[in-house]
């Protein structure tokens, strides 16, 4: 059942300076939605700080941040509201500048239609292509291309037709990739002078199609979600108990709405797709338990059924352990659960994405640990072709393999915008580093079972009379890692322990000789060392490693590979000055002369461990004393 709404959410997007804010501002004025006092302020500001030579500078209506007005650009989404007799509109005026793509994506994720500005004089620009791609991937099917600044292009039809054709090609290619068909229209306009915004312009008699406003008033805000299977992510469990005297435990009166029940328990959430009725059989995921909807409340009223978008609470039959994040669905039409997916990402973080890194995955079904296991490709902007890639830089759009810590319910994004969408969060900074859309699950995860080994790691280690662990020494070049590692290994060996030392000499020349010093290679270097160290702990060994390993995320990656408690991070906190004064291999001298790029401490950063198991400064103490400190930690934690 298509839901026709009397409210349309659309975004204005396109490259910087293509006139988005001007068009929206002018549209608001022409539809009679600009109050007199705001008009007076606008007139005064236009002549004072406007960029239109005395004419009204409509962009000032939307660029509400001081920095935006100073720089004359849009930094973040502005939301404006206006209505015509036909419809209400919520418009997200989004920034065109590449640096603020994340804010454009923020706007797009809430919209069902997009108004894409193209400068008639400049044609389609790379950022226009990026925005069209993001709109298509996010499932926006209604695209209006407003070919703007026709006043500066002599109202030239041929020029408009060329751009119109390119828009069709672009939308076609983007739709193909997104597996959806876009409905599109191109309209020649002058946002500044108002041509073809609300009335057909007599300066372009060759155009007889819809005006911008006609298109906005008539485009279908049809939401596929209403036809999709029923999904309800439990948002909040409402529970309370009556002490029998009509009072809640805190002395409040027991609410009348609870019908005198001794306890109240209902599950609150929004129907994100489909519909649900009283009496429906439903399944709870991930547990798989089935039950029946006994009562359905919309706000404070009982209802027989609820449609997509309704915020409801359900009373279910029987007693079940249902928590926030659980998915309610019909048993015959339940979402799949998987732990390995192919997904599309819009990468938003300044730090590029490399395979192997761990993040938090968050969807309507909750938050869980995730790892990017492989980067498949990056989408090129010229023709939306898939290009081989080993990383995604900020604002890149690409396809990657993502694995989760456990099976998780989902629907492909093309079938459900709510249950197929997710964001990735950095575990330390809490920043949102990407938004993503699930394409499909990958079966490989469930087909490869770990080889069952009869002999366990505990048995092997037991034979050695020790508990395996990895002593990970990290610090600047020249801080004394290798010296300390050798001394420590000697001491352990002398006590009869089985050990292995990994350092640059035995790793870089063999296992990792194919790796260079780019960021991607450095991460891969650490990942391999981590995997080798893990195998060695499985063999029951005490492993000592001595690598600069400057990045926190990489060390955390190794920590996550190993069994809890087996990763002992030791920060050799010798100061840069002390290391540089020692300079045993003359590397600092070379780096200072600019002969070594990306040298940690000189022209590349070292991220100190925030909470290492041990921190040592070798400058003030003997190597032996430092090694003793590590030994006492090992004894204390029962490793030796």
């Amino acid at each position: 059942m298509p839901v026709c709404s009397d409210m349309l959410r659309f975004l204005a997007c396109g490259s910087v300076d293509d006139g988005k804010s001007t068009l929206i501002g002018h549209l608001i004025h022409l539809t009679g939605n600009l109050p007199d006092d705001q008009l007076h302020v606008l007139e005064a500001e236009s002549s004072r700080i406007g960029t239109t030579g005395g004419a009204l500078d409509y962009s000032l209506l939307l660029d509400g941040l001081m920095a935006e007005r100073e720089q004359g650009i849009t930094i973040d989404v502005a939301y404006r509201y206006f209505e015509t007799p036909r419809r209400k509109f919520i418009v997200a005026d989004t920034p065109g500048h590449e640096s603020y793509t994340r804010n454009m994506a923020t706007g797009a994720s809430h919209c069902t239609a997009a108004l894409i500005l193209v400068d008639a004089c400049q044609g389609v620009l790379p950022q226009t292509r990026r925005h069209v791609l993001i709109c298509a991937l996010m499932g926006i099917r209604n695209l209006l291309f407003a070919v703007n600044k026709m006043d500066q292009a002599d109202w030239d039809e041929a020029r408009f037709r060329r751009i119109e054709q390119e828009c069709h090609r672009m939308a076609g290619a983007a739709g193909l990739l997104a597996n959806s068909r876009c409905d599109l229209l191109a309209v020649p306009v002058s946002a500044l002078q108002g041509d073809n915004l609300t009335a057909l312009s007599d300066r372009m008699p060759w155009y007889g199609g819809a005006t911008v406003l006609e298109w906005l008033e008539s485009c279908t805000a049809e939401e596929a979600a209403a036809d999709a299977p029923f999904r309800l992510p439990v948002q909040y469990v409402l529970k309370g108990s009556n002490d029998g005297r009509g009072c809640q435990h805190d002395g409040e009166r027991w609410p009348a709405g609870c019908d005198g029940r001794a306890t109240w328990r209902s599950y609150a959430g929004s129907v994100v797709s489909g519909r649900v009725r009283v009496g429906d059989r439903i399944v709870i995921l991930p547990s798989g338990v089935e039950t029946t909807v006994e009562r359905l409340l919309i706000g404070d009223r009982d209802a027989d059924s609820a449609e997509t978008g309704m915020a409801v609470s359900l009373v279910l039959g029987g007693e079940h352990d249902i928590v926030r994040g659980d998915c309610l669905a019909h048993p015959a039409d339940r979402p799949e659960q998987a732990g390995l997916f192919k997904v599309r990402l819009v990468w938003m973080d300044q730090q590029p994405l490399y395979a192997g890194r761990r993040y938090l995955f968050r969807s309507v079904f909750g938050t869980i640990e995730a790892r990017i296991s492989r980067i498949r490709d990056r989408v090129g902007l010229d023709a939306y072709q898939l290009l081989a890639a080993d990383r995604l830089a900020q604002n890149d759009i690409g396809e990657v393999e993502l694995s989760l810590a456990r099976l998780f319910p989902f629907d492909p994004y093309s079938e459900n915008r709510e249950t197929g969408a997710f964001i990735l969060l950095d575990r330390v900074s809490n920043a949102t580093v990407a938004c993503g859309m699930i394409q499909h699950p990958l079966r490989r995860g469930s087909n490869i079972h770990w080889q069952r080994e009869d002999l366990t790691r505990e048995l092997r280690a037991g034979l050695n009379g020790q508990k395996p662990c990895v002593i990970w020494l990290t610090g600047l070049s020249g801080s004394g890692k290798s010296t300390l590692a050798n001394c420590l290994e000697r001491m352990l060996h002398d006590m009869g322990h089985h050990t292995m030392l990994l350092d640059g000499d035995n790793v870089r020349h063999g296992l990792n000789r194919d790796l260079g010093f780019t960021e991607a290679d450095r991460i891969e270097n650490i990942r391999r060392i981590g995997e080798v160290a893990k195998l060695m702990t499985d063999a029951g060994l005490i492993v000592i490693t001595a690598f600069i390993s400057p990045f926190r995320a990489d060390r955390d990656m190794v920590r996550a590979l190993l069994t809890d408690g087996e990763f002992i991070e030791v920060h050799i906190a010798t100061s840069l000055e002390a290391c540089e004064a020692r300079d045993p291999k003359g590397l600092y001298r070379k780096a200072r002369k600019g002969e070594i790029p990306n040298f940690t401490g000189v022209n590349a950063p070292y991220e100190e461990p925030l909470t290492p198991e041990l921190r040592l400064d070798t400058a003030s103490r003997s190597v032996r004393d430092c090694a003793e400190d590590i030994m006492s930690l090992l004894r204390q934690d029962g490793f030796v």
Partner: protein, 300 residues
């Protein structure tokens, strides 16, 4: 074909926002400013947790300069609904006798509103704070997220807001950091009144037209709510039929001449009116980029 009205959509989205914030909060609170937006927000919260009561207290930052009718309405509402109310007044400001009439609106707002709010939030360590602000009120508010991150000093960083994708907010925060949550972000003034009409939500009578004692000052109609407002030379108190479109502190909130004395009449008036809502809020105009600066410092 079923038709979902805009008002129903807005209502459902707001309830979803309120539930999400509470589910992720350790110590949620609702800023209750007594105005029409607070009334609507509270009504939505009652629905969101029905039949139980909302699992958070209301917080009112009392500047001591609110209209008397507002305080009466606040106490009546809390009593009727059986909710917990925390009120806070900045003790330093009270001691120093900070007044909008003597110290100017800017200093007064800093001390009695922004500082007072921060004191209350710190004291109770609230980490998820609901506010009734709407994006259509003011240009810098139009830029703010629904779930708006605040650092440990309660500051807003307008240039570095977290992306807000779909309905999957990123509410992770470290100790001391918090979120301001605006469930009514996408409502307009008209939506608010249409919803008040639809749901028969009680509001402060000052919104309805009545004969009230006023003086004209700087082109604005200032109501004489108590004896603290001293008349300037040449000012004549007079009775005029006025109402308020927004309610703040009385010397800083001007009335408008209007005959609208019911919700239906207010809606009819707004559908034809040619001025915007906050033009009666004097604090919005006390410096350039006024609201953005206040918000950066922690104002709502």
């Amino acid at each position: 074909m079923s038709r979902v009205t805009a008002l129903t959509q807005l209502e459902n989205e707001s309830i979803r926002i309120i539930r999400e914030a509470v589910a992720e909060a350790e110590r949620p609170v609702m800023l209750y400013s007594i105005g029409k937006d607070s009334s609507v927000m509270l009504h939505l919260a009652l629905k969101a947790f029905y039949p139980l009561k909302p699992p958070f207290p209301l917080l009112h930052v009392d500047t001591t300069w609110k209209f008397k009718e507002m305080i009466h309405f606040r106490n009546e509402t809390v009593r009727r609904l059986g909710l917990e109310l925390i009120t806070h007044t900045n003790p330093d400001g009270l001691r120093d006798g900070i007044s909008p009439l003597i110290h100017g609106s800017r200093l007064y707002t800093d001390i009695m509103k922004t500082d007072a709010l921060k004191q209350a939030l710190n004291e109770h360590r609230f980490d998820m704070v609901f506010g009734g602000a709407r994006r259509d009120e003011e240009k810098s508010r139009a830029k703010e997220r629904v779930f708006s991150f605040r650092d440990a000093g309660h500051r807003w960083e307008p240039r570095g807001q977290r992306p807000e994708l779909w309905d999957i907010p990123n509410l992770r925060r470290n100790r001391g950091e918090s979120f301001r949550v605006f469930p009514l972000s996408n409502w307009t003034e008209l939506d608010v009144w249409r919803y008040i009409d639809q749901e028969s939500i009680p509001v402060v009578p000052l919104y309805f037209s009545a004969e009230r004692p006023i003086v004209e000052r700087g082109g604005q109609l200032i109501m004489l709510d108590d004896e603290r407002l001293e008349l300037e030379p040449g000012e004549q108190p007079q009775l005029r039929r006025i109402r308020f479109r927004t309610l703040g502190c009385y010397p800083l909130t001007a009335g408008v001449e209007s005959a609208a004395s019911s919700v239906a009449e207010i809606i009819a008036e707004l559908e034809t009116v040619c001025t915007s809502e906050r033009c009666g809020r004097l604090i919005d105009f006390d410096q350039a980029g006024s609201m953005e600066k206040k918000k950066q410092e922690g104002y709502f």
